[in-house]
Point group: C2
């Protein structure tokens, strides 16, 4: 019986479209020793994947034209030639966008289904949560009473960053683009202050919400929001740089240079990728799972149903209307 | 007998002039318990002092109008009411620009005259050397075989940065503004490669001299040189930000934003001030002194003679013709 997969049909100019993707049939290969056959359950669509659709130098290889797109997938083992996994186990890994795949067992990680719904392995207990966890704690290192500012605060990563900062005793200010989102951050997630960057003057709003300056800025957006925050850093401030989405579609991303700002504040800006923390994923997953089970860490998911909806879900990332983590439930 | 001191007469617009300074006579106060009277021997003039002549937020208080300017000074104890210092001792500290001063003994540090000429306490064994030492080693952390790029490489700090990087086994590329300086860096100080930013295309020159990318960039200048280096950072590169002199006189310091560059390279940019390393000055002074005495670390001084030459020396910082550390020998 043939399976379905999605390949990159053409590199998008600007926003991806339906032309970006193509469905193909393929046959599963025979299992070799150490391999498992997997049936996809949930597929994650993430903004960073847009970057891999370009043919440009970046931190990871570009997707190849006519080759399967791959990303975070939760799957069930349907056949195993590996000692570590058995049929029925649920795993997560970076897998092809396909209904089924055959991979080396060591490229996937088994999920404990007791901790939380398995879809969270792609969100709060997966790359999304770990991105928030390592960027905020390893680079930002917020201390009790410090002021932490998060941009894209209602996004999948930003909303977790703010909640972890609260767990660590910091004062948290979230920046987002709609009053509905801001209301949610304050009422449901415990943010101390919120800023609507679309309706407020960002500099005045930062002065209002951060009267004692800014100790940690979790950077998701860059652009003029980043410029304004970097002018208000306290001595020895830390700026984990996770994303710069405001510049992703810009021809030129030009703004005030940061060198003098960093000297004046003796501040640190540091780019990071969650993949570089592979050796500590277990620690992060355990801690995030504990916070979720204790009710300290909330998460939201928007779930599209059906393998045929993967392109729709991916395109949905760019209209800004969904909340929380965007997923596709394959069947 | 009255002494002489130099006060800030007016805040300069752009480059300082003779109008910026005024000489005044004053009487030394009586010593209280714990104080010492000092006779100035060498006065340091440094680019960072220009910033303190502005009335603007920065990392240190602005100099006040009609108040003495102060900076690094080497002085001899002429009277002491402190147990730790005796008449004849030579000390270094942040002192008024004056022929003599009375200060609390704990604000100055005694110099070991056996290690090197006392003037080096203001240069290679003083703030200049320590700026290079802490910025390069604490933030840059160069490893053997890594490529270290230094801008303003022939300056007082940059020339020491490059030599320490060589001691640590790195490959060192220096950027400076004259072929004479470049020749000196290569022939006398052991730099591996040099770039003349006035006559070469900086991006082509970086590609030529850094074929394996850049692991550490010691930032002294900012501007387009910084922009070009930041496009060539290797994974996990470190960028100690010491200065951004190209932007100091600019109305607007605008360039490509750094967020995406830092993510792609997972790089760290960190501003620092040598004053924040006070607890480790002893360690640095000992290590720098050892390297100087072993002949591994060379230094240059340009010395003006006479307290009346202090303004000339300071103005001399800005014409770029002097080499190494600029000092005034008071008498």
């Amino acid at each position: 019986m043939s399976e379905q997969r999605i390949v990159l049909a053409a590199r998008p100019n600007g926003k991806p479209t339906g032309e970006t993707f193509r469905y193909e049939s393929f046959e599963l290969t025979e299992l070799k020793e150490g391999q498992v056959a997997l049936e996809s359950l949930y597929i994650s669509v993430d903004p960073y994947m847009r970057g891999r659709m370009n043919d440009a130098r970046s931190y990871s290889q570009p997707f190849e034209i006519d080759e399967p797109i791959h990303g975070g997938v939760v799957a069930r083992v349907i056949e195993s030639k590996s000692e570590g996994l058995k049929s029925g186990d649920v795993v997560v890994g970076m897998l092809d966008w396909a209904t089924k795949v055959v991979v080396d067992a060591k490229t996937v990680r088994k999920i404990d289904e007791q901790i939380a719904p398995i879809s969270t392995a792609l969100g709060v207990l997966g790359m999304t949560g770990m991105t928030a966890y390592f960027g905020l704690l390893d680079i930002g290192n917020p201390q009790p009473g410090e002021t932490v500012v998060v941009s894209a605060a209602a996004g999948a990563v930003g909303s977790i960053v703010g909640q972890i900062a609260k767990i660590k005793g910091a004062r948290v200010v979230g920046i987002a683009g709609s009053d509905e989102k801001l209301q949610h951050l304050k009422a449901d997630l415990g943010f101390d202050e919120v800023i609507n960057y679309k309706t407020e003057d960002i500099r005045e709003a930062l002065d209002r919400t951060c009267p004692d300056g800014i100790d940690v800025y979790f950077e998701n957006v860059g652009g003029e929001i980043g410029d304004a925050v970097l002018d208000r850093l306290n001595p020895f401030a830390r700026v984990p740089v996770c994303g710069a989405i405001s510049g992703y579609n810009a021809q030129q991303d030009i703004g005030p240079r940061v060198q003098s700002k960093l000297i004046i504040a003796r501040a640190r800006m540091q780019g990071f990728l969650v993949g570089d923390y592979g050796k500590r994923f277990k620690e992060a997953a355990e801690q995030l799972g504990q916070w979720v089970s204790e009710g300290k860490l909330q998460y939201e998911e928007t779930i599209f149903e059906g393998f045929d909806r993967v392109p729709d879900a991916f395109l949905g990332l760019f209209d800004g209307s969904n909340t929380g983590k965007l997923l596709v439930k394959v069947k």
